[in-house]
């Protein structure tokens, strides 16, 4: 990760504080086994705009989104709707994004969160590059957090595919720094 803005330690610390107080399960910085894109079906995003511009993405699996929603809503999984799962993922991303924003230079504001889901969906964020990627695991599920920064350089967009089958194209066409 980019040491000057958000260090790995800071990223893990902010994730741990969210997990310990809202989800009651540990989270560890262990890369997921195999290709992450096998698992990801859901991406939550928030945009940061102001003196610093970019996007925070939280990629997660459906079982994890369901677990998070059930825990946050204190509900049985059977009682959950799609909207509950999406909203829980969005809120997690919103809180993570808020903490990340507090580490960035200058005065910035946070957008309302958004969700992309589905097996063949494509998320394209124009004029950005991947500043940082962190892979974590929690409750036996892989998660990935990405910070995209606005850039004037090429390639001029970050692109992430959520795919159905194993061994599919790697997610993202951007360089990691």
């Amino acid at each position: 990760m980019n040491e000057t803005l958000v260090s790995d330690d800071q990223m893990l610390e902010l994730l741990e504080s969210v997990w310990s107080s809202m989800l009651y399960v540990p989270i560890s910085a262990v890369p997921p086994k195999g290709d992450f894109t096998e698992h990801a079906r859901l991406t939550a995003s928030v945009h940061i705009a102001g003196d610093w511009n970019g996007t925070v993405l939280l990629h997660l699996t459906e079982p994890f989104a369901e677990f998070a929603a059930a825990t946050m809503l204190a509900s049985d999984t059977e009682g959950l709707t799609d909207a509950d799962r999406d909203d829980a993922a969005a809120e997690l991303c919103n809180i993570i994004g808020g903490s990340i924003k507090s580490l960035l230079p200058g005065r910035n504001s946070l957008s309302l969160p958004a969700i992309v889901k589905g097996e063949e969906s494509l998320l394209r964020v124009p004029n950005t590059h991947v500043l940082a990627t962190m892979d974590v695991q929690s409750a036996g599920q892989p998660l990935r957090i990405r910070i995209l920064a606005r850039t004037d350089r090429k390639p001029a967009e970050s692109e992430f595919r959520q795919v159905a089958s194993a061994g599919a194209a790697p997610a993202g066409n951007s360089r990691s720094h």
Binding site: M22, L73, A74, A90, G98, K101, L110, S111, L112
Partner: protein, 121 residues
């Protein structure tokens, strides 16, 4: 028994806060899903305290606080938000909040914050 106005655009967050409040013995909770709804509900009167998010569609939480404070200087307002910068906390205090809680938070945090203004378990 306290009657509380709870404004947050996230249904999940409203449920989390509602559960926390219920665990603290506060059951009379009126929910608003955006800032405009929050100020309209507040104008109808009868609230002992307000809990509001910052980032919401329509009016932001800060605008909600400013609107409330134009006519009401005393009803306690606690902002619960992901906005974690010191400048934001100062901005909220200047707008007229009584206290400020950064997400993520625990029920214990909410009990301490709200307990300063309204009876809780």
């Amino acid at each position: 028994m306290s009657r509380i106005l709870l404004a947050d655009d996230s249904g999940t967050m409203r449920t989390i806060i509602r559960r926390s409040l219920e665990a603290l013995g506060v059951t009379d909770i009126v929910e608003a899903a955006d800032g405009n709804q929050a100020t309209q509900l507040f104008a109808a009167g009868g609230f002992d305290a307000v809990i509001t998010d910052w980032n919401m569609p329509g009016k932001t939480g800060i605008e909600v606080v400013r609107t409330i404070r134009q006519t009401d200087k005393t009803t306690p307002i606690v902002m619960i938000t992901t906005e974690a910068e010191k400048t934001r906390v100062l901005e909220a205090i200047q707008a007229g909040v009584n206290d400020y809680l950064v997400k993520p938070f625990t029920t214990d945090n909410l009990r301490e914050k709200l307990g300063r203004f309204t009876p809780v378990a």
